[in-house]
């Protein structure tokens, strides 16, 4: 059910979304996206280039964060603009639990034509992993 524009105001919060990212999720995303960069699946190579370990694809993190917006919007086609800055890698340990990813969002501005800007706060282990994560959603 889409939020009605009349019910949305600056400060309206999106439902918090908590998900987990495991090594299996990285393999699945590598195949689906075509991003086969070795640092997303090979611990040895990731360490050789100075990373603490295997890290998630930035666009997997961004895609998971966008899910919080599409779920709230009701129709994913309502997301007309989406932008992110990758500020910190999400390290994914080699275990069954993986890394935790928490997405919070709030309406930051009401724009023309029933569109709203949603600002996201995306953290893993309490640290911000995306900054300036924003979506423009066309409501109603």
């Amino acid at each position: 059910m889409s939020p009605r524009p009349v019910d949305v105001t600056v400060g309206t919060e999106l439902p918090e979304q908590v998900s987990r990212v495991t090594r299996a999720d990285l393999v699945r995303y590598a195949g689906a996206s075509g991003d086969l960069n070795v640092i997303h699946w090979n611990e040895r190579v990731a360490r050789e280039v100075g990373l603490p370990g295997v890290i998630a694809h930035g666009m997997l993190t961004a895609g998971l964060a966008a899910r919080a917006v599409t779920a709230w919007a009701g129709d994913p086609g309502a997301v007309v603009e989406y932008s992110v800055r990758f500020s910190r890698p999400v390290v994914v340990p080699d275990d069954d639990d993986g890394a935790e990813l928490t997405v919070r969002g709030r309406v930051a501005a009401l724009l023309d034509d029933g569109r709203v800007r949603v600002d996201l706060t995306v953290t893993s282990g309490g640290e911000k992993v995306l900054s300036l994560a924003r979506a423009v959603v066309a409501l109603g």
Binding site: G58, M59, L64, R67, V69, T70, G77, V79, Y82, F86
Partner: protein
């Protein structure tokens, strides 16, 4: 080596046609853990006002990656890919990408900057149907660490 400011505005030939498959959309949505039927079920997509199943908002990265690689591998750009990380990404949707779309990607260098010894390269990729209908514009900023 700092990137040459003269590269800004350089455009590359259009990609081969990419036909958006419904199984590819479903695979991508599954990789994001997203069970929304609008990505899989034509009836659900139609109920939401779309002619067919649509793709998640970040699906365009699949095409944008390929088009962006043409820029990164341009010897005149001279970026050291082994030192590249993804800095920023933006998608502007003129309409949702949907199953059956036949899309062509055209890459253009939008901006080059050097900040604190890091080269930053912003590539714009315009996705349009083979009939010329604009569908999505992506901006990708890559950072080559410590190469300037």
């Amino acid at each position: 080596m700092a990137l040459d400011a003269g590269l800004v505005g350089r455009s590359y030939p259009p990609s081969a046609v990419y036909e958006v498959g419904r199984e590819k959309i479903a695979e991508f949505a599954t990789a994001l853990g997203d069970a929304d039927p609008v990505y899989r079920d034509t009836a659900a997509a139609r109920a939401a006002g779309h002619p067919d199943v649509i793709a998640p908002p970040t699906f365009a990265i699949v095409l944008s990656l390929g088009a962006g690689n043409v820029v990164v591998s341009d010897p005149e750009v001279g970026i050291d890919y082994s030192r590249v990380v993804h800095g920023e990404q933006r998608f502007t949707h003129h309409r949702p990408i949907r199953a059956g779309d036949r899309l062509v990607a055209t890459a253009t260098i939008d901006a080059v900057r050097t900040v604190a010894g890091n080269d930053m390269l912003t590539t714009r990729v315009d996705l349009a149907t083979t009939d010329g209908e604009p569908v999505c514009t992506t901006h990708s900023m890559l950072v080559a660490r410590g190469t300037a």
